[in-house]
Subunit: 210 residues, 2 copies
């Protein structure tokens, strides 16, 4: 398998974690977003979305991080990244989507660029915008973790939700977001970072981080 990704892309980090949790080896293909390599003709030819991450598995090309992780879970079921019961699966997916649909899309690189370059928003206002969506979005996650506490987002083993949560916390720390109002989120984050699958795949450890 090949994973087209960028060290600082949190959506890419989600998939690196999932691959590591499942013990699946892959070839790391760097796509440098700051240099706009995702719009290059050679990449656009294989990537309809012109985004990272993109998984190449045999003849298959799969994009969108949550879709990739569910694909990996269906094709390599052990260890499972979704629980067995439909209601538990729904809880894990909803937690993942609370991050992937409510926080991250507002703060990715092309959105921040558009705010500054096309809307004339100041750097200060851009940072305020960033922190607003992270801090309020994580409150939603915190409420759910408090209502049903576990070592990880759902129970005592990592799931899809943890693959999403950890990269979001990395982003939050990078932009100096407040995190003291989400103690259960941070307890889960620490539990994840104690595992090699989360630690060994962190952005600074990627080949293109230098």
């Amino acid at each position: 398998m090949e994973l087209f990704n960028y060290f600082r892309s949190s959506a890419s980090y989600r998939v690196r974690i999932a691959l590591a949790l499942k013990g699946l080896p892959f070839d790391y293909r760097a796509v440098h977003l700051q240099k706009n390599e995702q719009t290059a003709e050679s990449y656009a030819a294989v990537s309809a979305a012109r985004l990272v991450p993109l998984l190449h598995d045999g003849d298959a090309w799969v994009h969108q991080s949550m879709a990739i992780i569910e694909y990996l879970d269906e094709t390599h079921p052990e260890p499972p990244l979704l629980p067995a019961h439909p209601l538990d699966r729904a809880r894990v997916r909803a937690l993942a989507q609370d991050i992937a649909c409510e926080i991250h899309p507002l703060n990715n690189l092309r959105v921040l660029r558009y705010l500054v370059q096309s809307m004339g928003v100041s750097e200060d206002d851009k940072n305020r915008w960033y922190r607003h969506w992270v801090e309020t979005g994580l409150e939603t996650v915190e409420r759910q973790l408090v209502a049903r506490p576990g070592r990880f987002c759902h129970g005592d083993t990592p799931t899809l939700a943890d693959c999403l949560l950890v990269p979001q916390i990395f982003n939050a720390q990078r932009f100096d977001c407040r995190l003291d109002h989400v103690p259960q989120v941070m307890r889960v984050f620490e539990a994840c970072m104690a595992l090699d699958a989360f630690e060994s795949t962190r952005p600074e450890k990627c080949p293109d981080a230098a």
Copy 2:
């Protein structure tokens, strides 16, 4: 089942379509977002995310529209809203997430409010922002539909991806977005609207639309 939703929320419309495709009856519970009813104490008590849609099924409360639709698909498998093969499932999920993670989050009511009320963005710039993400985001969907054309987003029966696409087109039309650059998207939209499940659940036909 009860569905807490708002007639104009496109995430709510996604779930109404899925319920209709599966022929599942439900009690319509209106939550008026313009009046901020989603933050009322009684609603917050059952909704960790304080968003719509929210499905109440027996003892279960499920939020996030894609998580709800997958939950419905797992608990009421006929007709399926995801194909059988993992790679096809990944394609459908990625199409859905291209809308749910790349277009819609930038344009929902609370984000538009924040742009205007907290960032001081003008109405004109807000509308330009809206159209930018819809028009570029739908290009990604178009490329995928052209690469593998079908009557619907994936093959000849509606899937999760169509449940996401149709409400996004309603939003696009409401904000006068350009749509002539995505002809295959619009062919699929028309095919969907010829089905009662999409037509009978459209925003204007909801009890709270009056």
